[in-house]
């Protein structure tokens, strides 16, 4: 199963997105510290949810004008988490 990781600068932004997703029925969304593999060395926060929620996430970001940074796919390959940017 693949996950969607949406990175945000502020933890407030990440929590706002998580909450809006939960209002829209996505109860699996959760705020996480951005994984180092997709971070530029510093701290930031992301929302992790199921990849099949991508269109819902995009819809909420647009309608609520939530400023996120990037989208990544998180997959498990040989027991390890692998990330790829979503264009």
């Amino acid at each position: 199963m693949s996950n969607l990781i949406v990175t945000a600068g502020s933890v407030t932004t990440a929590i706002r997105l998580e909450k809006q997703l939960s209002y829209a029925g996505d109860l699996s969304a959760a705020v996480i510290h951005t994984p180092p593999a997709i971070n530029s060395g510093g701290c930031s926060y992301s929302v992790r949810t199921s990849l099949d929620k991508l269109s819902l996430v995009k819809q909420i970001i647009e309608s609520k004008r939530i400023r996120v940074r990037k989208f990544y796919i998180e997959e498990y390959v040989n027991g390890e988490r692998v990330y790829s940017a979503l264009s």
């Binding site: 600068g9 502020s10 933890v11 407030t12 932004t13 929590i15 706002r16 909450k19 705020v31 996480i32 510290h33 530029s40 060395g41 510093g42 701290c43 930031s44 926060y45 004008r65 400023r67």
Partner: protein
């Protein structure tokens, strides 16, 4: 003791605020926005719940536009020093508190709109004060001395009609007067939690509208962009450095929910009624000077008065010592406002009503003032 100093802080809070404060000091004192562990995120989410309640109260669309501060003074300093520079010009009213006057004096040149003997300003005077380099108009929402409410919607129209920012000091009105940042045309607003919002001390905030150019005056750890030596440029992190007072902010939701239920308008009306009742009662006593408006609509629950022949600080001391009533004498960190009201020589005794006061409290104060006036005249 009878507490009548709600313009300084609401001493008594709804009991659910105390319980929440205690509970969250134990359970949610992890550092919000620092790391991704369970306790930190739980505290952050609860803080965000309070932010959403504040957004509902003030009709703020985007919760990210609110930065928490220790109090309204910090918020005002952030809004003033973060927007203005030495080449700017700013317009303020004569009824401002020192938490506006002092940062403005530090920041740039400013013009003061004179108030009349009741603490009212004429919005048309603002138009005449606008200069080529005027950047912002700042107004208190209500005087902390005499309770006169400023016409903020009219001031906002003037500001926006001339391409200026409009900043409101809502320290005296948040929670006890309706505030709608969109309808009222507020670009930046500082508020305190511990007064009308009845939160624990150490909670205040600054609302900054979208696309407003503001620089942080405090920089440091935000839990974001740790690799950068430069402060983040996104809200609220840009204006929110250092550890937040999580238990107090979380407890704030309890009182704000209560206010939302009862409505700020209804709470303000009740406080205003007590103030008007006090004014009417004091009018029946000889040798009492009352400052500000009487029973007009544009006043809140704060009343300023003096017993003629008696210094205001002394009068407040007697009320405390002999009648166990807490009021505040002096100049209330707002000397120019006293100059407008005519109380600059001795200051004034300020009685300010809050959520928990009743008509009985008015009676008790009136009786005490009557006895004092007899004794000293």
């Amino acid at each position: 003791m009878l507490y009548l100093d709600n313009a300084a802080t609401s001493f008594k809070k709804p009991s659910r605020v105390y319980f929440s404060m205690m509970k969250n000091t134990i359970t949610n004192s992890a550092n919000s926005g620092r790391g991704g562990h369970f306790y930190s995120l739980r505290a952050t989410k609860k803080i965000y719940d309070t932010t959403e309640a504040i957004c509902t109260l003030f009709n703020i669309e985007n919760p990210e536009r609110i930065a928490y501060t220790q109090n309204a003074t910090y918020a005002l300093n952030m809004g003033i020093l973060g927007v203005l520079d030495k080449n700017s010009h700013v317009i303020i009213t004569q009824m401002e508190h020192n938490s506006v006057i002092r940062p403005v004096t530090k920041a740039c040149r400013h013009s003061v709109i004179k108030a009349d003997r009741h603490g009212r300003i004429r919005p048309s005077d603002i138009l005449r004060a606008i200069r080529y380099n005027t950047k912002m108009i700042i107004s208190t929402h209500a005087s902390n001395v005499c309770g006169t409410i400023m016409p903020i919607s009219k001031i906002s129209e003037i500001a926006h009609g001339n391409g200026l920012l409009f900043m409101v000091d809502a320290a005296q009105t948040a929670g006890c007067l309706p505030i709608d940042v969109q309808k009222d045309g507020i670009d930046i607003m500082a508020f305190s939690g511990h007064k009308g919002l009845m939160t624990p001390m150490g909670v205040g905030g600054l609302y900054v509208g979208e696309n407003i150019d503001i620089e942080p005056i405090i920089t440091g750890g935000t839990g974001s962009l740790s690799e950068s030596a430069v402060q983040p440029d996104f809200m609220p992190d840009m204006l929110q450095s250092g550890t937040l007072n999580a238990p107090a902010i979380i407890a704030a939701k309890e009182s704000i929910d209560l206010i939302l239920k009862e409505t700020p308008g209804a709470i303000g009306d009740k406080e205003r009624e007590l103030a008007v009742r006090l004014i009417e009662d004091l009018k029946n006593i000889d040798k009492i000077q009352i400052y500000g408006l009487g029973n007009e609509k544009d006043r809140n629950g704060t009343v300023a008065f003096n017993v003629k022949g008696l210094d205001s600080v002394m009068c407040a001391q007697i009320l405390n010592d002999e009648y166990k009533i807490c009021t505040r004498g002096g100049w209330h960190c707002a000397y120019p406002a006293h100059c407008a009201l005519g109380s600059e020589k001795n200051g004034a005794v300020r009685a300010s009503f809050g959520y928990f006061n009743t008509a009985r409290d008015v009676q008790k104060l009136t009786d005490a003032v009557y006895k004092i006036s007899k004794k000293f005249n």
